[in-house]
Symmetry: C2
Subunit: 424 residues, 2 copies
């Protein structure tokens, strides 16, 4: 891993992948097919793209139950514990509707309401990602969303991985469709005979899924479009180099474009971590991916002191930040931008990926400057409540009309005036 | 106004204006100029597009002070009262960071942090909109945003309207630039020599501003892109037809594409409102606009009962909803989708536009299904806090590793395992 001084250019931002023109055209074309032909398009596209010749799009109750035979009991217990932890953390985020009353009779407030329906995209591929299902479904459930739908591309034999089905069962999700790619996003946004549309779509996917989400945004809401994963470790001379190297590699194995960065005040630690990364890399199953990531997007910054190091961290605004310093808790207040902050030597980033409770869907690519982890608020909306009394309008009506006329909006002013004329 | 039965198609959604190809090209071209030439491009574009030959982009302290001579004292007092009301309402939205501690030493939480910097776009044109400045600036101030910048296109003489400058002064906003259109959005997103970039851009604007906001989204955050304004009035036979007509027209005068809808259980009220609208239209200064809006996007639905009427309202998911029924408060719980809900005969919609306190920046075009009024949360972000103790990791590490391996992520599992080996 390259070691550079703090004066180097510190950006780890990467260009957002907006696909090739061919990919964008393919996505537009798929969306049009689904809008025009509904289920027929879904069956045809699933046959062509996933190689699965389905009779039914929806997963049956029998399939759900049968999946349990293929998942170890230990894993089921771990999934149940993770669900409990994630639920507990998200329940603490839940907001109440509130109102304030004034002496003149005015009532103002915010009414918090869950979304009606949400669709969660679950990617296919070799590794089934139960954690992604939990992280997307649980905040929606806690928010009170009544209808939660899952979509996932079937394997060639027309099934979904057992891990996906068991996780869904454990969460109580019963409406699951065997569709993937842009066609699944189009079905969720526009609806077909078998797949009623939803109000919001969340969950990760490949470039086709990402482009389709962009295309349907506005018709429905979407979550953020995630970039490659990132970790920044902030460490001083008290930190353990092997721990840090292992954590950097746990990001690097995700993706060749993933980024792993150490910012440290200790030249000695910098050198130890660089050596440990090389050593630990050797035996990793995903060595090729991790090596490319470390080579292209891995860097160790040596700062003169913690103040300077923290400046760099805020400049990077990382998705994951680990703080491994003598007094890590005391530094949290200085961190202005980070998706998730892992504090101290035992808070390895995978603790948050699967288990601790906070969401692992986090803002990437510097967007932690203005975005938050996926959370319960993302599955609710607020409505303002304004109840003015007659007395309140009589007391304030003249000022309201004056402001309306200042803006040249006479009909606005008259809507107030007509109520001041004592007609009712 | 046309009166139809509830069985008619109830959508009031309009296509989102994504501009012509020429407009999109113009915007791309302007953004490129600003990125490449900085201030030079801003001066040149402001001369070409706004006809103003500026020496300085930033509004001076003297200009701010001089503006007070051009605004009536009554208006200043009304602005001050509105600011107080809006601040009070938004302060009640403010969230605290929180944490939860467990017996095994684990600490989990959410840290709430304001954005560093926000740019507010203030449209030019004949009517200066002080209310729009208040509604965009106050939530950012309450959130704790340190740097709040305003941009607004200058008049041909190189000045900004006095109402804009006085409102900014009253709010304590001191960093104001005389730039508008796509060039202002580009400067806020990318920064120039005189205009440091911001993290989020909010505020309404014309199609060029909207397209530029879309183009820079991702680089910075933006607020929603608003469609034409809408009002839906839900009323029974107890409602006052003149009030309703006045409120419908107060939306209609905004824009030929604005939509004004009455949903009522009373045929008699339907007919009275239709007649009142015609009558009140006659003397409106913006009669032509309001008439076109009512003709193209105005409709009165007659429902069989309140249950059915409320179904229609939820289907419409309006930006503004007024409830004028015998017991309006009791219906709030049944409203699932609305940007702002105005309750009872004295809560005319303009009360909320200017004065009551809740924000007037609201979700349009059915997006109230999943979006909220502009609020303090929009100017903060959350970071998750995860502090695991050694005991917590020892108790749960095996489950975490198992889940990581289930997903095929060996480096994740090893980052946990290395900490369980008792090396530290």
């Amino acid at each position: 891993m390259k070691i550079v001084s703090i004066d180097a250019n510190v950006s780890i931002r990467r260009d957002i992948d907006t696909g090739t023109e061919m990919q964008r055209d393919a996505v537009d074309n798929i969306i049009t097919q689904v809008v025009e032909q509904g289920d027929h398009a879904l069956f045809t596209l699933t046959k062509t793209l996933d190689g699965a010749d389905l009779k039914e799009l929806r997963v049956s109750k029998e399939e759900m139950e049968a999946a349990y035979a293929h998942v170890d009991q230990d894993i089921i217990i771990a999934i149940r514990q993770a669900i409990e932890n994630i639920k507990d953390f998200h329940q603490r985020q839940k907001r109440q509707s509130w109102m304030t009353t004034k002496e003149d009779g005015t009532i103002l407030g915010q009414k918090v309401t869950p979304l009606d329906s949400v669709g969660v995209y679950v990617p296919g591929g070799k590794a089934a990602y139960p954690s992604s299902i939990m992280m997307n479904v649980i905040p929606a459930q806690v928010a009170g969303v009544k209808r939660i739908v899952m979509v996932s591309p079937p394997q060639a034999d027309g099934t979904l991985p057992a891990g996906v089905l068991v996780t869904a069962s454990e969460l109580g999700v019963e409406e699951i469709y065997k569709i993937g790619g842009a066609q699944a996003i189009a079905a969720l946004a526009y609806g077909t005979e078998s797949v009623p549309s939803v109000d919001k779509i969340t969950g990760p996917g490949n470039i086709y899924v990402a482009l389709a989400k962009r295309a349907v945004f506005g018709k429905v809401d979407i979550d953020m479009i995630a970039g490659p994963s990132e970790i920044v470790v902030l460490a001083d001379e008290y930190a353990n180099a092997s721990f840090i190297a292992a954590d950097l590699l746990s990001q690097a194995e995700h993706d060749e474009r993933a980024s792993a960065v150490l910012v440290t005040t200790s030249t000695k630690l910098a050198e130890e971590v660089a050596a440990e990364v090389e050593k630990q890399l050797e035996t990793l199953p995903k060595k090729a991916i991790a090596q490319a990531s470390i080579r292209d997007y891995g860097v160790i910054y040596v700062a003169r002191d913690l103040v300077e190091a923290i400046e760099v961290v805020n400049e990077l605004a990382p998705e994951h930040l680990e703080i491994l310093t003598e007094e890590p808790m005391n530094l949290i207040g200085k961190i202005r931008h980070a998706g998730a902050i892992f504090v101290g030597p035992y808070s390895s980033e995978p603790v948050g990926d699967y288990f601790a409770g906070p969401n692992h869907v986090l803002p990437t690519n510097g967007t932690a400057r203005f975005s938050s982890p996926l959370n319960v608020d993302d599955f609710t909306k607020k409505s303002s409540i304004i109840a003015y009394s007659k007395a309140a309008l009589q007391a304030n009506g003249a000022q309201i009309s004056a402001l309306a006329r200042l803006e040249g909006l006479e009909a606005h002013a008259r809507a107030i005036d007509i109520r001041l004329e004592g007609k009712q």
